[in-house]
Symmetry: D2
Subunit: 245 residues, 4 copies
């Protein structure tokens, strides 16, 4: 059988009947009593994700390689009344990191694999957990001129599948977010001048560039109990740009 | 850059610091002021979706082909304090429906297309809306012996893409849920006897059959403003069973 | 381990050494002693496929709904010294066909399923066979304004998977060709005026529109013994246009 | 419109009419006047590909890291009357190679990218060329316990897309072969003992493990002019094992 859930937007007086208080207490803070570690989260999509997870009830650990960026992000989020602390992200020793940083493939794939392995024991102690890897729509349809970046993102789709299989017995789910064109400093080359932005929007179905906040909700969802049967999956947040079936 | 959001489960006293009230008022009832029409929603996955959308603040219209099933479902949900009404689903005239029912491909694909077209004008009047089509993991990896069902589900992946493109200019998003093996009467053949259920679980990464409720959260999410930049996408809720990258 | 086969084009004097006659006799007529039924084969991609299969050694049965088109195509191919005969394609009785023709979904999906079922007994008698279904790149990335066509093509991807599974025990392989933009009367709207053709080519990586002949080789290949371990797969012939990983 | 090419196997006396010589001279040696460099080609799938490309008319350069393996493979193929020579494969300097060999991701992805870059100038001089990368069905559905291998293969799907886009303007096509379970020394763990082989075959639609030769035909095809409009695509040779739509 097939079902279609159809949702009608905005004020809906016509059909509205008596509304009673929903009993969905559990939904108030879907991430209550959880701790979230968000890497590369001092600005852009990572920062929006950190803020959202905190708004949804998690204690968030903001992380990055530079202390001052971490301090700034923590201060900003604490200023919003959110439960946030910060840490510098150490992927191995300094000299290892040097080599690691050598290539985008290393940064994007090995660091993600490494980070996951590092937190797994902690998650196991708590009875389970959830990992969300951030790939890109370029994993499916390459951004021109960004070969190594694109390939590393495709690899992350595979990493998601592999970690999901490997960690399922430990009650750890692993999913993936693939943002499309999102307004961040990283993507600024695509929208810095107005003409370029207009030409980019031509290819988008939703005729605007996305915001970091629009990537954050699905991460919170993936981390919540609502996603308890979802693992190994990638969700594209791309405004309808060609991705895959 | 690549980010990993890692969420640690359960009570997390160790890292917890001062928690302040999150300001996320908008998150309390993510579907407030929305009307949701859920077809085939008197039991199984459809019923779980209807309940969840109501719990998240929408007024839900339960729909099915049989009056008594609709009445029963409406009564059950109203008994939980939810804002729900019911309607019989008419897909065209009776004789058309007869022919329509002729084949699974017709039911699953044309009815979904038709239903969407029917509600689009109403959505437009309200300034936009969201459609979630329910396909199946069998759209990617066929269930043995269910050819026409499987093919119709694959077609729904395409319908999702096509409607998303067509309706984006009217501020209507169209996405798709692809459930894996979920404990419903439809799938009972797979788990009715204990031996069969055990053998099915062998193929699942999360070693249990999913529940209808585990399909409902993503539908509510897709309908909410949190998914404002997601359209044309399919999310698999399949416990890690092979689907696609 | 990973291997890269690299082929250098054109005259290759530099590296050439003694060339001896290859022993590949079996490769001369890869489809010798085979009979190929090609539906909708009186022009465009179907005609190119019919010709190619005949050139590769098969006896080809050209088929279409109109006698005069069949006669014309058979005469043309026999004039090239190819082993070809013709037949009108009957999908059920006339009145059934009328209803069948009613919708594109019916034509494209049910007819393909029906035709396959019709020829399976004949294939079984001969010890096996091969079916190649023609979908479209629009199965993955919709052509604008062609919703039902696109959806029917997506459904064919699923039909391919399902028939492959169902028919494997009978030694019948089922694969699929997904052409991109190919110069046929069907696609003429995209290249009829020069300006439109230029703008179309912008989106192609290989900067020209494909020819029907460029779709024919892969069909011959899929039908040959060379493809003996390939079933359930779709190959895109699209000049690099976005399709899927 | 939709077409089905149906090919009936074996001797087909019933329908056979007069057969005249096909004019397909060009098809006799589809790779005549071409030079093929096949890396890791001293045994298994690579060796079968090398032999097949030579049988189809190319001069083949067999390559591997060990001189004695190259010598043995060259001697074997020359003994079959094929035009073959050999070379040791140098990917950069020795110390670089050491580091390169450090991880599977490096070997499989960077070496493929590097090798391609190395031969591009030579291909350009000759007016174009064709690259076929060998990934694995594990790129789509991971082999258990082989995480890094699987992820590297997924990355190769992305590398294929990226190189195809980058090299299209130079008349170089880039495609990918994804073998399923093939009887080689690499996969021997899956079929060494009879019980394991039987249990593996359960999951295959074509109920036998494939041979290296069954992977070679598609590579020859991809390198030939017959594939002139195919670039950026991956073809699975997997006997019907779950891959992707």
């Amino acid at each position: 059988m097939q079902k279609v859930g159809l949702l009608l937007g905005r004020s809906a007086r016509a059909w509205r009947s008596v509304r009673m208080a929903s009993s969905g207490v559990a939904r108030r803070d879907p991430l209550a009593n959880k701790v979230a570690l968000v890497t590369a989260s001092t600005d852009g999509i990572g920062f929006a994700i950190a803020r959202r997870l905190a708004q949804d009830g998690a204690h968030v650990v903001v992380s990055s390689r530079k202390q001052q960026n971490v301090d700034r992000a923590v201060a900003a989020l604490q200023g919003e009344g959110l439960s946030v602390s910060g840490t510098i992200c150490h992927v191995g020793k300094a000299e290892d990191r040097e080599r690691l940083v050598a290539t985008i493939l290393d940064i994007n794939v090995k660091a993600a694999a490494l980070m996951t392995k590092v937190v797994v024991p902690e998650m196991e102690k708590r009875g389970g957990g959830s990992v969300v890897i951030v790939a890109s729509i370029a994993a499916f349809n390459p951004f021109p001129g960004l070969g190594p970046y694109n390939v590393s993102k495709t690899a992350l789709l595979g990493l998601t599948k592999n970690l999901a299989i490997e960690l399922a017995p430990r009650n750890i789910r692993v999913n993936c977010l693939a943002p499309g064109l999102i307004k961040t400093s990283f993507s600024s080359v695509f929208w810095m001048d107005k003409a370029k932005e207009e030409s980019m929007k031509e290819t988008l179905r939703i005729r605007r560039i996305g915001t970091p906040e629009e990537c954050a909700g699905i991460v919170s969802f993936m981390c919540s109990e609502d996603a308890s049967y979802i693992t190994g999956e990638t969700v594209v947040v791309g405004g309808g740009t060609p991705s895959r079936l």
